[in-house]
Amino acid sequence: SPPLSVSPAADPAVISPQDPTLLIGSSLVATCTVSPDFPLKAEDLYWTLNGRRLPAASYAALGPSTLSVALARLNGSRQQSGDNLVCHSRDGGILAGSCLYVGLPPEKPVNITCWSKNMKDLTCKWAPGTEGETFLHTNYTLKYKRRWYGQDNTCQEYHTAGTYSCHIPKDLALFTPYEIWVEASNRLGVAVSDVVMLDILDVVTTDPPSDVHVSRVGDLEDQLSVRWSSPPALKDFLFQAKYQIQYRVEDSSEWKVVDDVGNQTSCRLAGLRPGTVYFVQVRCNPFSIYGSKKAGIWSDWSNPTAASTPRSERVAGGCDPKGGEQNTTLRRELKQFFGWVKKHAYGCSNLGIKLYDQWRVWLQK
């Protein structure tokens, strides 16, 4: 018989249950009942689940136009929009369908961490708490309230710092403990994280330092001088800043950290290798906020800045790694080239070895 492509007035069949939600491992008996307007019998029907035909052994005719199917020990849904259980007529036409949502209830979200940028806002992130998946779409809601004041607030701006994050842009009080928690919910249930208590002033971070410059110290082969500006927000707020520097040689991934920079905006790196390109980054930690003794949260590192230590022209008796030698020959030639360019070409004043170093930093990203 030709495929059922006519659009009838009523739905051709009805499936029960329609769009159920089930725990993983549960069993289900579904029935498909053909509408009386249709000349179809139970033996003219068959079932598919996610496009795969289900074995006839699991069918049972419950009436002249009702066919059931038994599904045992269901796995988690193949897609979050639900598994497609479909009742077909013999020729393959679709009579009705039901979406099965098979999964697990959510687990408590964990590891809530928050930070405030310049005491103006609060961003929090968390982890889902389920080792594997729930197989169902799970909604997360971050809530917060001032301790001892009744009203719960709900965070609105999600995904600002990754999937499991939320941003509270305003109306936050300082010197006040806040209670913060995350609620996870899906079709099978709700789970609430433990409550985190914090004062905005405890979790303040700021922008990385700006205008980081690295330069040589005269002809000293083993030193570089680093200078930077304090982040602009510093002058608006009553906090001090302490800084940290990290640096590495170009072809290494190991950063060396200078911890005792204090609150100066310059520092000299010593004990460096001559004739080597170094990448340097600086970050800032606001502390002593409104006079408290506590430290804040370290900012991101500034963009890497590059510079090279000088190398004396006298050939030293020491050994250089092979790569280093090629490097320095290239650099020397480049410097000579740039010197020539400056003299003979107009408008190329920005061209120089510093620009070449920045390019090498950019290459490493």
Binding site: G97, S98, H137
Partner: protein, 219 residues
């Protein structure tokens, strides 16, 4: 490569147009350019839709993402403007009527898509849908621009009605999946046919100066 960049740029420009006067340079000059832009936009949307539909149908799961899948059109109420019409009938329409039909169809398709955007599960899909809706909005404006430059009145009513017209939401999740499937299918057919329409229209309207006029909106 580069062409897609230009189309996106045009899209963004068109979506920022509050009204259409920027396309009204001189009637003939404007028309030629408008039609070309609209054609290009249609092709770009076809391309975008292929990726969007692929992702969305995978989200719906098998059998929806199977290549030859054709569910029945269960006629509760035919909500989505159907692209299947008698081709002779279609070609027999005046340019005005054909343009107006395109304008109305895409306006309605756009608002169905926006409803979809509000309900869909994954962040990736929402992102793609939002992007597609923005481009489709550009197409509606672009068609309006062509009609204006040819001296045709715009179809009555708002360009993009705020709520889907009339019909109730699908009574169950499976029927909703079928509705979504057909929405994407119809969109595909509309875009395919519109490209042909605009190509034909291009040949009717005398070609103008080849320079792209981007004087509007500070570009």
């Amino acid at each position: 490569g580069d062409s897609w960049g230009i189309f996106t740029f045009l899209c963004a420009a068109l979506c920022n147009l509050p009204a259409l006067p920027a396309l009204n340079c001189s009637e003939e000059l404007g028309a030629g350019q408008s039609i070309q832009q609209t054609y290009d936009l249609t092709r770009y949307l076809e391309h975008q839709l292929r990726t969007l539909a692929g992702t969305y149908l995978n989200y719906l799961g098998p059998p929806f993402n199977e290549p030859d899948f054709t569910p029945p059109r269960l006629a509760r109420a035919e909500r989505v403007p159907s692209a299947t019409v008698d081709l002779d009938l279609w070609r027999g329409l005046t340019d005005n009527a054909r343009l107006a039909a395109n304008y109305r169809a895409y306006s309605r398709l756009l608002c169905y898509l926006r409803v979809l955007d509000g309900q869909v599960g994954t962040a990736e899909l929402r992102h793609r849908l939002a992007h597609f809706c923005a481009s489709l909005q550009g197409l509606v404006l672009s068609i309006g621009g062509v009609m204006s430059s040819l001296g045709y009145p715009l179809p009555a009513g708002p360009a993009a009605p705020p709520a889907p017209p009339g019909a109730p939401a699908a009574p169950n999740d499976f029927l909703k999946k079928m509705d979504d499937f057909w929405l994407l299918k119809e969109l595909q057919t509309w875009l395919w046919r519109s490209a042909k329409d605009f190509n034909r229209l291009k040949k009717k309207v005398p070609p103008a100066v080849v320079t792209l006029r981007l004087e509007a909106r500070g570009f």
